[in-house]
C-alpha cells in the first residue's frame, strides 16, 4: 500500500450511463485506443484525487460476462488478468434486475467490487425507490449514488472507491449467489477435483473455475489445458459427467439453469430493496417512440434525419474545407517563394504539404459527422434507426446499424468506414467495411461527369444514376456472398435494447466527437504522409527525363518564328498572333509534361499495366490515370487532362473536346466508369480499413477483391458491348 496508485475499472450495462461517469471523472484527460488484438475501443484516463493517482479504465459495456462477444471477453479478461484494485459496477437504477445480473457475475469473479447506483432520480420519477443500505448489506458491497449527467455524486464515488481499495477484505467471505442443491453439489465436487490437480496453477478461485466449466466456458477450458496440461483431461471428464447429470436432472443445459437461478437470486434481492413501485408513470420515452418509430411517420422522419446529417457533413463542411484548402495553398505559395528550386522544395511542396493537405481537408467532414453520430448515439436514436432499417439490412445479412456507415459512403468512404465503430459485432463491422467502398463516393463524381458528359450527352444523368445503382447492387450481392462464405454464421442476433431517450450533454458530445477525430488525425496523418511522399516519389522520379525530342529547342524555335511574324504583321493581327504563340507554347509544354509523366515510375507502371487494361478498352493513358487515382479519385480527372494534353486540368471543356477527338469510344468510357466505381479505394480509405479492421489481411483483401471485381465487371461491360455491336 506504499505506492499511492490505484487502478479502478468501470463496468456496467450499455446505456447505464457508464461512459458519462467516465467522462465526468476523467474529463479531457483520456486516452482512446484499442484493446490489444481486437477493435474494441479502449478508454482510460488518469486523475489525481485525495492524494492518489487513479488510473480509470472504461470497460466495454456488456450485459453479461459469458464469452460470447469480444466486448464481454475483453471486460472479463481485464478483471481476471489485470486485477484492478476496485471494479465499480454502474447499476442503472431504473433497470435493476438486468443491471444486477452483470453484478452477480462480476461478484463471482472475486474481485473487489462496489456499486454506483446511477440515475436513481430517473427511477424515482418512474415511481421506484431503492433502499441502498439494504442492497449494500445484502450483497456486502459499498453502494454510492450517482447522477452522471448532472455530475452528482462523482467525488463521493471516488472517495468510496479509494476507501474500499484500502480496506482489507481478505477475511470476509464474499456474499455470492447460492445455487440450488444439485448445482452446489456439482460445483463442490468439481472444485475439489480442480484443487487437487491444479491448485496454485490457476489465477482464479476454484469455485469460479468450477462454475465456468459447468457452464461449458470455452475460454476457461482452454486456459485450464494451458496451465495444467494432461491433468485437465480428468477434470473435463468429471465436468462432462456432472453436466450430463444436471441436464437429466433439470431437463435443460446447466448454463441455462444457472442463468435462471441467478435471476431467481436477483428477484429475491430486488423484492427487498425496491420499495414503493407504482406503475402509473409518465414515460416520455414511450411517447417519443409513438412518433419516431411510428408505422407511417417513422421512415419519413428517419430519412429526414439522415438527409440533415448528410447535408451538415458535406454541405456545411464544405466551407471550412475551402478555408483549409486556401490555407494549405497559402502555405505552399509561401514555401515556394522562400525555398530555392530543387528536390527539397518539390518534396516539401508536392509531397509533404500536399499530403498533409489531403488529410486535413477531411477534418471538418469528420468532425461534423462524428458530432451527428454522437447525437444519434447519446440520445438513443441510433438504436431506433437500427430498429427501422433492420429488415432491409438483414436481407444482405447485416445488422440494422450497418445502414448509416453505408450511406455515409456516398459522401466519403473515410468517415463511413470510421462510422462502423458503432457496430458491436466484429464480423458485421468487417463485412460493412468490405462493402462500403462500392458506395460511390463524391470524389468519383467528377470522373463520371467528364466521361458521361463527353460520350453520352443528354443521357449522362441516367448513365451516372445507373453507375450508382450498380454499386449498390454489387455491395448487396457482396454482402450476401461474404455472409454465407467468408464471414459465415454469427449474423448477430437482433437482441437489442431500445434505451430510453436522453437529452445529450454538450460535454459528452464534444468528447465523443473529439476522441474519434483525434484517432483520424493522429494515426491516419502519419501513414498518409508517408504514402503521399511515396506517390510523389513515383511521379517525380526519375528526375532526369530523356525526352524523345528537344522540347526546349522546339519551344525556342516556335517562339522565334512567332516573334518574326509579329514583327512583320499588320497592327490589327498582333494580338491574335500573340495568343497563337502562347497556345503553341502551352501545347509544347503539355506534350513535354505528358511525356515526363509517361517516363516517371508512375507512368511506367501505367504502361506496364497496359495489357491488363487493354481488354477493358482502356489505353495506357487511362491506365496511368487510374493508377494515380489511388491517391485520391479526383486525380483521375486531372491526370487524364494532362495525358490527353487538354490543357489545364480543371478546364473540363477542353478535356471533353480532347477526349472526343481521341480514340476513346463511348463503350470504353462506360467500361472506365465501371472500373472507377469499383476498383481499389483511395489511399485514405485503405488506411482507414487497416485501422478499423485492425489487420493488414483485411486491407489487402479489400484491395484485391474490389480491384478484381472492377476488372471483371469492366471486362464484361466492354466485351459484351462489343459483341452486341456497340462501340
Amino acid at each position: 500500500m506504499s505506492s499511492k496508485r490505484l487502478t479502478i475499472a468501470l463496468a456496467g450495462n450499455p446505456n447505464s450511463g457508464k461512459t458519462t461517469i467516465f467522462n465526468r471523472i476523467t474529463g479531457t484527460r483520456q486516452k482512446v485506443g484499442n484493446w490489444p488484438g481486437v477493435t474494441v475501443e479502449k478508454k482510460e484516463g488518469t486523475v489525481f484525487r485525495h492524494g492518489y493517482e487513479l488510473k480509470i479504465i472504461d470497460l466495454p459495456g456488456t450485459y453479461s460476462l459469458t464469452p460470447y462477444s469480444i466486448e464481454e471477453i475483453v471486460a472479463r479478461n481485464y478483471i481476471l488478468d489485470e486485477t484492478p484494485d476496485v471494479v465499480i459496477d454502474i447499476i442503472d437504477a431504473s433497470n435493476l434486475d438486468r443491471s444486477l445480473y452483470l453484478a452477480t457475475q462480476i461478484r463471482e469473479l472475486d474481485c473487489k467490487v462496489m456499486f454506483a447506483l446511477n440515475m436513481a432520480d430517473v427511477a424515482r420519477t418512474r415511481g421506484s425507490k431503492i433502499d441502498a443500505n439494504k442492497l449494500s448489506e445484502l450483497l456486502d458491497v459499498p453502494v454510492a449514488f450517482t447522477i452522471g449527467n448532472k455530475n452528482e455524486g462523482i467525488d463521493e464515488l471516488l472517495s468510496m472507491a479509494i476507501k474500499w481499495a484500502e480496506t482489507d477484505t481478505s477475511n470476509r467471505p464474499a456474499r455470492r449467489v447460492q445455487y440450488s442443491k444439485d448445482i452446489e453439489e456439482a460445483i463442490d465436487k468439481l472444485s475439489q477435483a480442480i484443487a487437487a490437480s491444479a491448485a496454485g496453477k490457476l489465477a482464479y478461485t476454484t469455485r469460479w473455475t468450477a462454475i465456468k466449466l459447468l457452464e461449458d466456458d470455452k475460454i476457461v477450458r482452454e486456459r485450464l489445458v494451458e496451465k495444467t496440461g494432461a491433468a485437465a483431461e480428468g477434470i473435463f471428464q468429471l465436468t462432462a459427467s456432472l453436466r450430463d447429470h444436471l441436464r437429466s436432472r433439470f431437463d435443460d443445459d446447466p448454463e441455462i439453469i444457472m442463468t435462471d437461478e441467478r435471476y431467481g437470486f436477483i428477484a429475491g434481492i430486488v423484492k427487498e430493496v425496491l420499495v414503493n413501485t407504482n406503475r402509473q408513470r409518465i414515460d416520455m420515452s414511450r411517447n417519443i417512440d409513438l412518433v419516431l418509430t411510428n408505422r407511417f411517420l417513422g421512415f419519413p422522419i428517419f430519412i429526414f434525419f439522415i438527409w440533415a446529417m448528410f447535408q451538415l457533413t458535406f454541405t456545411l463542411g464544405e466551407y471550412p474545407m475551402l478555408v483549409i484548402e486556401t490555407a494549405v495553398d497559402g502555405v505552399s505559395a509561401v514555401l515556394a517563394h522562400l525555398l530555392p528550386q530543387g528536390l527539397i522544395r518539390d518534396l516539401l511542396l508536392d509531397g509533404i504539404v500536399a499530403g498533409i493537405g489531403s488529410v486535413i481537408v477531411f477534418l471538418p467532414n469528420i468532425l461534423i459527422l462524428f458530432f451527428c453520430i454522437a447525437i444519434f448515439e447519446d440520445t438513443g436514436y441510433m438504436a431506433r434507426s437500427a430498429f427501422l432499417m433492420d429488415k432491409v439490412m438483414h436481407l444482405i445479412g447485416l445488422h440494422g446499424k450497418s445502414f448509416i456507415p453505408m450511406l455515409m459512403g456516398f459522401g466519403c468512404n473515410v468517415p463511413a468506414i470510421m462510422a462502423t465503430r458503432t457496430l458491436e459485432s466484429e464480423k458485421d463491422r468487417i463485412l460493412t467495411i468490405l462493402i462500403t467502398p462500392f458506395m460511390s463516393c463524391s470524389a468519383k463524381l467528377p470522373v463520371y461527369i467528364v466521361l458521361a458528359g463527353t460520350f453520352f450527352g443528354a443521357r449522362a444523368g441516367s448513365i451516372i444514376f445507373a453507375i450508382y445503382l450498380f454499386g449498390i447492387i454489387l455491395s448487396m450481392a457482396t454482402g450476401r456472398i461474404f455472409r454465407s462464405t467468408l464471414l459465415k454464421g454469427a449474423d448477430a442476433p437482433f437482441v437489442m435494447e431500445l434505451p430510453p431517450y436522453r437529452a445529450p450533454t454538450l460535454n459528452s458530445l464534444l468528447i465523443h466527437m473529439w476522441d474519434r477525430s483525434k484517432i483520424f488525425l493522429k494515426k491516419m496523418g502519419g501513414v498518409i504522409l508517408v504514402g503521399s511522399v511515396i506517390i510523389w516519389f513515383m511521379t517525380a522520379f526519375p528526375r532526369t527525363v530523356v525526352y524523345s525530342k528537344d522540347y526546349a529547342a522546339e519551344a525556342a524555335r516556335l517562339a522565334a518564328a512567332y516573334e518574326e511574324k509579329i514583327r512583320t504583321a499588320p497592327e490589327d493581327q498582333i494580338a491574335l498572333l500573340k495568343t497563337r504563340k502562347d497556345e503553341a507554347l502551352a501545347a509544347i509544354e503539355r506534350a513535354r509534361h505528358s511525356e515526363r509523366i509517361a517516363y516517371s515510375l508512375m507512368g511506367r507502371i501505367g504502361n506496364a499495366l497496359a495489357p491488363v487494361f487493354a481488354p477493358l478498352g482502356i489505353d495506357w493513358r487511362g491506365g496511368v490515370a487510374l493508377v494515380s487515382g489511388f491517391v485520391a479519385k479526383e486525380i483521375v480527372v486531372s491526370t487524364l487532362g494532362v495525358l490527353y494534353a487538354a490543357g489545364e486540368s480543371d478546364d473540363s471543356d477542353a478535356l471533353r473536346t480532347a477526349l472526343k477527338a481521341s480514340d476513346m469510344t463511348p463503350l470504353a468510357a462506360l467500361s472506365m466508369m465501371v472500373f472507377v466505381l469499383l476498383y481499389l479505394p483511395c489511399l485514405a480509405t485503405v488506411i482507414a480499413i487497416r485501422r478499423e479492421t485492425g489487420s493488414l489481411k483485411w486491407m489487402f483483401f479489400s484491395i484485391f477483391y474490389s480491384t478484381s471485381v472492377a476488372w471483371l465487371a469492366a471486362f464484361c461491360v466492354y466485351q459484351t458491348g462489343r459483341l452486341l455491336g456497340f462501340s
Binding site: 418509430t293 433492420d390 437482441v495
Partner: protein, 85 residues
C-alpha cells in the same frame, strides 16, 4: 402460441425458449425467462423486428428469433403456463 404471433399491445408470459447456443443463452441473460411477463409494444414499420417490454425495459427482437419462443396468454391463462416463480 409463439411470441411472433402475438399482436401489438398484448401481454404474454414466456413458456419455453427454443433455439440453441448463444442466442438462447443471450435471451435468458437479458431476462427473458420462463414465467416472465412480456408486453408487445409494437412491430417496426416493415413488420420486423418487434419491440418488447421486459422487466421494465424495452428490447427489440427479430420476428424469426421471436418465433423460437413459445408463450401463453395472461388473460386466458392457457394451460401450459405454470405459476410464476
Amino acid at each position: 402460441m409463439l411470441l411472433s404471433d402475438v399482436r401489438e399491445g398484448q401481454s404474454v408470459v414466456i413458456d419455453r425458449i427454443g433455439g440453441q447456443g448463444a442466442l438462447r443463452r443471450r435471451l435468458h441473460e437479458m431476462g427473458i425467462l420462463k414465467g416472465t411477463e412480456v408486453y408487445v409494444e409494437k412491430y417496426a414499420p416493415l413488420k420486423d423486428p418487434m419491440e418488447l417490454v421486459v422487466k421494465g425495459y424495452h428490447l427489440s427482437l427479430r420476428v424469426e428469433e421471436a418465433a423460437q419462443i413459445s408463450v401463453c396468454d395472461v388473460k386466458t391463462g392457457l394451460s401450459p403456463c405454470p405459476p410464476n416463480g
